[in-house]
């Protein structure tokens, strides 16, 4: 192993250790991640962690949760998407899907990670539960139920921007808890470049499977931590502002989710979809309001009449 790749391995182990600490403590705040990573890196400072390695700490939001290459992230994302699409049928409307893609892909350009291995693509799922998911590969799903809950392009943009935030901050990979995956990364299994055969292929495929099911489990059943959701909310508010949408649309859509969730409880329905995997919207609204979004002047959405027209014609018809 070359000196440089040994350094990479050491760095990845540190990064992984921090990721594990963060997962165990349930504390995913960016600030503390930076702090803990910097501390650990300096502890290991005499052990092959060079200035060059430390410089990449500026990429902590990426590095803290990504021991994978962009290409591996993409392939993991594809298998997460394929698993979601085994349980949810795509909504068969080229008009709605084209509209959601134009809107979503424009919003992604305003995120802190506008370029992905393949790019961001969006798909409406034919299901009435209120939900939205994003894979590490940039595949973003929104259910028909969630779409029906939004009442304007600003609100739909808020939902999509929140999911873009999860992708940009690599939250999916951060949700991996499988000991087998963590062990494999520590052993440098994913560093292999050669074509695999026999036992090796079986082992790596098993790890790939664990990675996929861990992420699917987080998206569909377990949910992210509240801190992670709040990070995605902050990213969404920023994207909305940059493009010129009303960032307060995020609060409005959260309020409507809250009402829908309450109605579900009162109707004695089982918690499912969004209400099962997300913290109470009310707590996120309070958090967003601390940033005083009510008083922010939106960037002046190009043409309100135009956004209403296209939202009405694409979404309300379905």
């Amino acid at each position: 192993m070359s000196h440089q790749s040994k350094q990479t391995t050491v760095f990845r182990r540190i990064v992984l250790a921090v990721a594990v600490v963060l997962l165990v403590s349930g504390c995913a705040a960016l600030g503390s991640a930076v702090g803990e990573l910097a501390n650990l890196a300096s502890v290991g400072g005499n052990d092959g962690v060079t200035v060059q390695t430390l410089r990449s700490l500026s990429a902590v939001a990426d590095a803290a949760t990504s021991p994978f290459t962009p290409e591996q992230e993409y392939y993991i994302g594809r298998s997460v998407a394929a698993t979601i699409l085994r349980d949810y049928a795509p909504y068969d409307s080229p008009t709605v899907n084209d509209y959601v893609n134009r809107l979503g892909q424009s919003l992604a350009l305003a995120s802190q990670r506008p370029v992905l291995y393949h790019g961001y693509t969006f798909l409406v799922l034919d299901h009435d539960e209120i939900n939205a998911f994003a894979t590490p590969g940039g595949h973003i799903f929104i259910t028909r139920g969630m779409l029906a809950l939004t009442e304007s392009e600003d609100e739909l943009a808020a939902v999509l921007a929140h999911e873009i935030g999860h992708v940009a901050m690599r939250h999916g990979l951060g949700s991996i808890r499988s000991a087998r995956v963590i062990g494999a990364v520590q052993d440098g299994m994913f560093d292999a470049l050669d074509t695999l055969s026999g036992q090796e292929l079986a082992e790596v495929t098993a790890v790939f499977g664990d990675t996929t099911s861990d992420i699917v489990d987080t998206l569909a059943t377990r949910g992210y931590t509240g801190a992670t959701e709040r990070q995605a909310d902050a990213a969404a508010a920023n994207i909305l502002l940059r493009v010129g949408y009303d960032p307060y649309a995020l609060v409005r859509v959260l309020e409507r989710m809250d009402a829908a969730q309450q109605a579900q409880y009162e109707g004695g329905q089982e918690r499912r979809g969004f209400s099962k995997t997300h913290p109470r919207p009310q707590s996120r609204i309070l958090d967003l309001e601390k940033t005083d979004l009510r008083n922010v002047e939106p960037g002046g959405r190009v043409d309100d009449a135009e956004t209403s027209r296209r939202f009405e014609s694409a979404v309300t018809t379905f």
């Binding site: 070359s2 939001a61 370029v115 291995y117 969006f122």
Partner: protein
């Protein structure tokens, strides 16, 4: 109140890898776009494959001017479309002394993941057809038009 949004943005922007002129990097996306000027609406002069070696020769905001090792072409790429080779497990193969061509690097990386996907697809009886169809919904930035809103002006090519 704008300040808060700006602060949030600065915090989030910290995720960007810090580039310097002279850095030897590799294309970190499937199809890297080499543009005539900084901005997602500038003319695309060449498309580069994953793993292709580039050297940073200039930086302007989130954009970097690069020289492509194999062709000598120069142009602009978004800073999130390139990474140090070691971040892409290309440290050994990708080093300038190894003699490996960028094609060999790209193939090595691609084969690895595709092979696993095929294996996993078979094991789990998954169907990647609908995922491929979803990925086909990707549009060129130039077709997003009015949806770009205020970002449209921000990413427009600079007057030359």
């Amino acid at each position: 109140m704008r300040t808060i949004a700006v602060l949030i943005f600065i915090l989030l922007s910290g995720a960007l890898f810090a580039l310097s002129v002279g850095d030897d990097l590799a294309v970190s996306v499937r199809q890297g776009e080499l543009r005539s000027a900084p901005g997602f609406l500038s003319r695309i002069d060449a498309r580069l494959t994953y793993g292709e070696a580039v050297t940073v020769i200039g930086i302007q905001g989130d954009w970097t001017r690069v020289r492509v090792e194999s062709t000598g072409d120069e142009g602009w790429m978004h800073a999130t479309a390139v990474l140090p080779p070691r971040e892409m497990n290309l440290a050994d193969v990708g080093s300038r002394d190894s003699g490996a061509s960028s094609d060999e690097i790209a193939l090595a990386g691609r084969g690895f993941s595709e092979q696993i996907e095929r294996e996993y697809e078979e094991q789990e009886s998954l169907d990647f057809g609908p995922v491929d169809e979803m990925e086909d919904l990707l549009l060129p930035v130039s077709e997003l038009g009015d949806f770009l809103g205020a970002v449209g002006a921000e990413i427009a090519p600079e007057a030359e």
